[in-house]
Symmetry: C2
Subunit: 200 residues, 2 copies
């Protein structure tokens, strides 16, 4: 028995999403058969307009409705400190802490030779131009603590050094996350925690 | 920092789906920002038309594009055997085996007093009318093997008996599933496997 075409299409669309397999896609689709049409209309419209109603901020490349983004246009923020992140979600994670008052730069990726992603595929040039043309005190490179993130950080640091010797370049502190169990921490994390120890 | 409204709406829509929490909803939404607009259009259209382009088959209540559904209109199938299932997905699971050649009846739920679902909320009346007006040999009640499914099966059996004494009413065989490990089977499954033993 063949499923109605529109049901097949929706299952297919769900299945293309990361982490959603055929069974889950089926379950989600059949679940939606039982919701009010208004909920389907709302979902459908959000999908349709997702990219149409958003742009990259011309300064920091964050996702925004209006250019400049709310952070770049906020005059109360410290314009001399830029935190470089891989994705908009990283930016949101930091904003939730409420502890960072500088600006951001979203790379939309990281350098990964295996995936053919070089500096030209992500917003590196825009960052370097921004640094050249403005008075910056510190660049916090907050790429992920994995091989690609580290390689991206090294590359950025080298390029920023070419522009200026005086800009402070930092990387996020590394070590044991809050709430973790020492017993289960891996060797590298423990080593980094030891190296990054602070006087109390 | 507030996210663009259309992004918030999409996260909200994903979050309403079963088994999708706030973090996953965020991840799926930001993933979709990087797919081609054509994929968003396709997804959006499938959602919009999901209920508009499907109907319940007037005979078996299966989801279909055209009434009757492909199964009810297939003249090669045995019209004297009806398998009663809770959901369209159960029907699809049986069709995949290719071993059942009768017709179906989809209840779209099961009797569950705790959730205020009685026989009137699911397609029980339609089933009983179907049985009264047609020449049926056997009804296979394939509701789920849990409390609500069993209660629904008992209720249906009682109501069908009122209509006819001669119809064979059956329930799916129960026991150890293929590939399972006896050691880990629960008591009830083992008991049922023992009760349902067959001569080889």
């Amino acid at each position: 028995m063949k499923l109605p075409k529109v049901i097949e299409s929706l299952i297919e669309s769900f299945q293309k999403l990361p982490g959603i397999g055929p069974k889950t896609a089926q379950r989600l689709t059949f679940y939606l058969l039982n919701v009010p049409q208004s909920q389907l209309d709302y979902f459908s419209e959000s999908l349709l307009n997702l990219k149409k109603k958003t742009v990259f901020c011309s300064v920091c490349k964050n996702i925004t409705e209006v250019d400049l983004c709310p952070i770049c246009s906020d005059s109360s923020r410290n314009r001399k400190v830029i935190m470089v992140v891989e994705q908009p979600l990283d930016l949101i994670a930091f904003e939730k802490t409420g502890k960072f008052k500088g600006l951001y730069h979203v790379l939309h990726g990281r350098i990964s030779p295996l995936e053919n992603i070089g500096p030209d595929e992500i917003f590196v040039d825009d960052l370097l131009k921004r640094i050249s043309s403005q008075d910056i005190d510190e660049i916090i490179i907050a790429t992920n603590p994995n091989m690609e993130g580290e390689a991206t950080a090294m590359y950025l640091a080298k390029e920023i050094r070419k522009i200026s010797d005086s800009i402070k370049i930092t990387r996020l502190g590394m070590g044991i996350p809050t709430g973790a169990d020492l017993e289960y921490a891996d060797d590298l994390t423990l080593t980094q925690a030891l190296e990054g120890r602070r006087q109390i």
